[in-house]
Structures are given as structure tokens and as C-alpha cells.
């Protein structure tokens, strides 16, 4: 709650989501600043995806309020939120299996540029649309598979398409739910660079378990545990927070008995965790 004084683009206030007896998000309040590179981390099942579902309107919150650029959008349908510039990716690929990547992107771009209701013109008739598609295909290494049905693509390609679709929507607020899962190590950085290179006024909320990436990407972080907000802060603060280490980051160096782990590498600025945190461990939800 300390650093930037930029205006808040997306704000969630006291969001509660219950599934029967389970409370998946419990009075979560989150502010996404304009141009932020904000990471949302937390153990499995902490409610991160649920939060994104609430923000994007896939789920209706049991309690709470969501505002986007100052306007209350709690009751808006998902597509209306997209129209206001809030776009997401899915943790588990959600693609149009029988369409080709090219068609998928062309349709997304058309929809985005207000051509979605045109039924007389052919898809791709509009030059700008086609050019934008070509550019996206290029950027996400999808050009050579652009005419294959999405259904037969390898997982990695599908993953790339998943993200390309979101970018094709020209978001002002982008919510990324584990975008690089299944993307090979080499392409991960590149992919996130694409995201990082979005215009500075685009705000990004990133959910990711790959800590290398998170720490190299984020300038602000929120930690969610068991549906509740545990703490917030700069990457440095989070990396050194013993509580976060205990429930999420893990033992750091100690685990290196098993070799270098992806998440255990401390981010550049941070120092090693107090050794005591390491012994907690086993049950992240204690």
C-alpha cells in the first residue's frame, strides 16, 4: 500500500465468493494501478483464478463491488467488461477448436474493431484486420500453423494462441492466469517480454507460479492464501516476507539439496530468507 500514487484502474472491494460450504475468496480487496505490472501469487487453491473469474464476470460475487476506471461493473456481463478494455487469459486453454489460429485471431480482431456484427462482409475483408492478424501470428510464432485447425496443435502452440487472443483484444487491463504454463523455458521470457512491452498505460495482473518470471516482471505483488489477502508489497518486500516463504515460496537454499529449483532462486535485490522459515513447510494451509 505504499509505493505508487497513480490512479487505480481496477478495484475490487471486499469480494466474497462461496461455493456451497467453501469460501474461495474471502473479503478480498485489490487495487490495480494504471500501468501496473502487478503479480498475484499464492498457494494452489488460494482463490486466484476465482478472483479473476469474479473480476471478469464469469462468476458473480456473493458479496463485494468491482469498479473499472471509476465505474461500477459488478453487474456487467463478461463481454461488456471486455468492451471496456478488461481482457483475460485462461489457466486452462479456452480455444476455438474447429477454427484455425488465423480465423480465431481475425475474428477476435474484427470483434475488437467493431466489425463483429457485420454479416455481409467476408471475414478478413478489412485490410487493417488482416494486417493485425499477420503481425500477431508472427509475434507468437504461429504463422506456420495458422491454417491448421486449433484442435491438432501441440500444447505449446495452443498456449501461445491463448495469449495471442488476449492481446488481439487490445486490452487496457490485462489479467493473465498462468500464461506461460506449458511454454518451453526458452520462450517464456520472450513471451512475458511481449507482455511487458505493452504500452505503459496498460495495466497487467499476472498470476504465475514461476518465480523467476514473476520477480523479473512485477513491480508490485499481492499474496493470496486460502481466499484471504495475506500481504501486499514490492517484490523485495514479498521475497523477504517470512510468512510468504512459509506458505508459498518454500525453503529457498535449503531445498537445493535437490538441485536448483526454479522458484527458490532469490530475486536479485532480495537477501536470503531467515533460516527458521524453512522448517515450517509441509502443509501450506495449516
Amino acid at each position: 500500500m505504499s509505493t505508487s500514487h497513480n490512479e487505480t484502474v481496477l478495484a475490487a472491494q471486499g469480494l466474497v465468493m462461496r461455493f456451497g460450504g467453501i469460501t474461495a475468496t474471502n473479503h478480498v480487496t485489490l487495487n490495480l494501478k494504471k500501468g501496473a505490472r502487478h503479480a498475484l501469487i499464492g498457494p494452489n487453491g488460494a482463490g486466484k483464478t476465482t478472483l479473476v473469474n469474479l473480476l471478469t464476470g464469469v462468476l458473480q460475487p456473493t458479496e463485494g463491488r468491482i469498479t473499472l476506471e471509476g465505474r461500477d461493473i459488478t453487474g456487467l456481463a463478461p463481454h461488456q467488461r471486455v468492451a471496456r478494455g478488461m481482457v483475460r487469459t485462461f489457466q486452462i486453454n479456452q480455444l476455438f477448436d474447429s477454427l484455425t489460429p488465423l480465423q480465431t485471431l481475425a475474428l477476435t480482431v474484427s470483434q475488437q474493431s467493431g466489425l463483429g456484427a457485420k454479416w455481409w462482409q467476408a471475414l478478413g475483408q478489412s485490410k487493417p484486420v488482416a494486417e493485425r492478424c499477420a503481425q500477431l501470428l508472427e509475434q507468437f510464432h504461429l504463422t506456420e500453423v495458422m491454417d491448421q485447425p486449433t484442435r491438432v496443435l501441440a500444447y505449446g502452440k495452443r498456449r501461445l494462441l491463448e495469449i495471442a487472443i488476449a492481446l488481439a483484444c487490445e486490452p487496457r487491463v490485462l489479467l493473465l492466469d498462468e500464461p506461460v504454463a506449458g511454454v518451453p523455458a526458452g520462450e517464456r521470457e520472450e513471451l512475458l517480454q511481449t507482455v511487458a512491452a505493452l504500452p505503459a498505460d496498460v495495466s497487467v495482473l499476472l498470476i504465475e507460479h514461476d518465480m523467476d518470471l514473476v520477480f523479473s516482471f512485477a513491480n508490485y505483488m499481492t499474496v493470496l492464501v486460502n481466499g484471504t489477502l495475506l500481504t501486499e508489497g514490492t517484490p523485495d518486500q514479498i521475497a523477504n516476507d517470512p510468512q510468504v516463504k512459509a506458505v508459498y515460496l518454500g525453503h529457498g537454499e535449503e531445498a537445493n539439496a535437490a538441485g536448483p529449483l526454479q522458484g527458490a532462486k532469490a530475486p536479485s535485490g532480495g537477501s536470503a530468507a531467515p533460516a527458521g522459515a524453512g522448517s515450517m513447510g509441509a502443509n501450506p494451509h495449516g
Binding site: 498457494p43 504454463a181 523455458a185 515460496l249 529449483l261
Partner: protein
Amino acid sequence: MAELLKVEKLRAGYGEAVVLHDVSLTLDEGATLALLGRNGTGKTTLINTLAGATRQHGGSIALGGVALHQLASHERAAVGIGWVPQERNIFKSLTVHENLTAVARPGKWNPDGVYAMFPRLAERKTNLGTQLSGGEQQMLAVGRALVLNPRLLLLDEPLEGLAPIIVEELLRAIRRITREEGLSAIIVEQHPQAILAISDRAVVLDRGMVAHAGTAQELREQPERLDRLLGVAR
């Protein structure tokens, strides 16, 4: 150590399309193999072929002397294959508990053992498969393979989407299981370093063929070579 798995001149794919062209490899009992390669090189296809979920066009697979390629997919579990598919494929209309009991075979591992390993799952016992978070589904997929009490675990990107602390734990568990219980494992991972650390051997696939096979140690110590094999430009 006795040889557990022997794959020779394997050709396989989907329908008429051949994805794996000529794959041969062997794996000892209790040993762990890291299966590496870029996107779309056929890692998943190889794993699925071992599990009997693709179309095999040629070659042979032997598991502990049994000709696996002659067995139907469902008979392979009885011989000792435990499969964690890449897209998890949790049975969506079954609860967490049913997901485990539906496939469980007698042996050391039972649902309770899985719950002890992933306490999170115990809390979600009665949730349907679709009502789990991504990471929970991943844990369940691993647990589901374990209750088969296999001799060879096939793990297709098992760490994907897990919290770092769980990753640590799972890696440690895999190592313990392979070392102490004599289980073998083939692990596909996008994070070669993490997985090479606990593996004995490593195979790199490229375009459906084995581009490199050797010990895990050797690749661990030569990161540049590994990068080259994986086609990573640094």
C-alpha cells in the same frame, strides 16, 4: 540395477500421421529419466504411446520383459504403468475421492497416502473434478497415477502450475519414491534444470527422434550444450 523399460525403434502418431519416427531408449529399475525437447517434438506423444493412448505404427516396448505394445491400453496399468497426462484430464463428473478410488489398485499407495502427500486434496475430497483449482487438479493427477501402484511413472509436465513450495515437495517425493521404493519414472519438464537435478538419465527429443541420450549429470554440468540441444537462444 535391472533393466525395466526397453523401447526399440518406436514409430507412433495420431491416425495416419506419424509423430515419433524412430525412438529407442532404456531405463533401469528405480531410475529416473528426464525427457526434454522443444514444443511439439513428440514428448507427450512418447508418453502417451507408452500409456497406449496413441496409434503405434511400429517398434516394440518391453516393460520388465512384458511386451507392452501388444497390450491394450487398459492392460498396461496392471503391468505397471502409471500415467499423468499433460492436460491432467481429471474425471470431471467424479469427486476427488472417486477419481482416486475408481482406478486404485492394491499396493502400498492408497488414497490416504495421497491425501497425506497433498493435504489440500483431503480438504477437497468431495469436490467434483471440475471444481478444483488448476494446481489441485495437477496434484490429483499425480495422486491418481500413484494409487495405481505402478512400476513406471509417466509424468508429463507434473510441476506445471504448482506453487514453488509444492514443487519442492513433489520433487523431493519423486526422488524418495524412486530411490526408496524402486519405482522408475519418466518426467517431461519445461524446466530442465529442476528435473535434471533429480534424474539419473536424460533424453532429448527432436522432431520425433532421439537427439541426445545420456546421463542427467552430463547435461546438468553443461548448460550450454543443453541449451543448444533444446534450441534455446541465449
